[in-house]
Symmetry: C2
Subunit: 192 residues, 2 copies
């Protein structure tokens, strides 16, 4: 028998996606520990037991929910990389992916999330460091990433008063010189 567009498999896939979407929202808002299967199921309008049936455990649900589709590599010329960093976390304010938020929200208290974030940031540090000609390239790259991390946390998660309702371009305009300063003197200028 040919399967219709809304076959069992298709229906199941949609239900799973609805659960994953709800999970991202709840994990992003409350973090791993305070998020409950019940709350996620409620938001997805399914039975809590179904969530367990599909994903097996809360941890497994978290893993699948925060899995980010692609890991866009950081490469190119240094000044392009600075713009790319700004675009990712400052310009792109608003549509910051729920999955990233969920990961960040949980990273300080949930060991698995911490490990995931560290691995991803270490990777970005490596890519960025490769484009920095100054000495201490990796260290400089790590501090650039740390800066963007701090701005994102202060803005998106802590909601600092002074960062509320600030247009993206104003943020970018002020942060850019700081990032450039972190890249250090260019190779030609290094004569010490």
């Amino acid at each position: 028998m040919e399967e219709t567009p809304t076959s069992r498999a298709e229906r199941r896939r949609r239900t799973e996606e609805r659960i994953l979407s709800a999970a991202r929202t709840v994990f992003a808002e409350r973090g791993f520990e305070r998020a409950t299967i019940r709350a996620i199921a409620s938001m997805a309008e399914v039975d809590p037991a179904l969530v367990m049936q599909y994903f097996g455990s809360k941890q497994e649900l978290f893993d699948q929910a925060v899995r980010i589709p692609a890991i866009p590599p950081l490469n190119g010329a240094l000044d392009e990389l600075v713009e790319e960093l700004l675009a990712r976390v400052v310009i792109k304010i608003g549509p910051i992916p729920q999955a990233s938020l969920a990961m960040m929200r949980s990273m300080l208290t949930h060991p698995e999330a911490a490990e995931g974030v560290r691995a991803r940031l270490d990777e970005q540090v490596g890519q960025l460091g490769a484009a920095i000609p100054a000495r201490d390239a990796e260290l400089r790259a790590a501090l650039m990433i740390s800066t963007m991390l701090g701005v994102t946390i202060a803005h998106q998660l802590l909601d600092l008063t002074a960062l509320r309702d600030v247009p993206a371009d104003r943020l970018a305009k002020i942060v850019r010189p700081a990032l450039v300063a972190l890249t250090g003197p260019d190779a030609a200028a290094e004569e010490s």
Copy 2:
């Protein structure tokens, strides 16, 4: 009857202090949610029930444990403030207070901790902003604070590979120009 140096009140005070110290350690390591009264009591070598007896609730224990004695105000000339910021979070790496760590560890998942951190950072932003002559003073101050927050989190809580075992003066030397860049052009240079 005169009380000896180890009177009941004195013994109680010492026990309380031991519990608070253990609480700071456990809250700093695991965050509010994952920290348990049992673990804190065990570390302090007292009975779990005694902790409740003394502090009433886990939340109250947290409040008292993370209460930071003094709130040193940020004031002075701008270049001194930059040095003060560097001293507080970069140079002073190592003896960063357990209470601050506990607060930061919990700030993304525990609403009370988030509120406490936001209030404190907002306050620092105000003090720092008052010393910045450029336009967007508060915004610049907030971004400076965010930068230091990011470096602290990446270093102390996430343990980024590239930031491990880096001498404080090397960190400070690289971060300083970024902070200065965030302070913006001085008043004389602003002619637009």
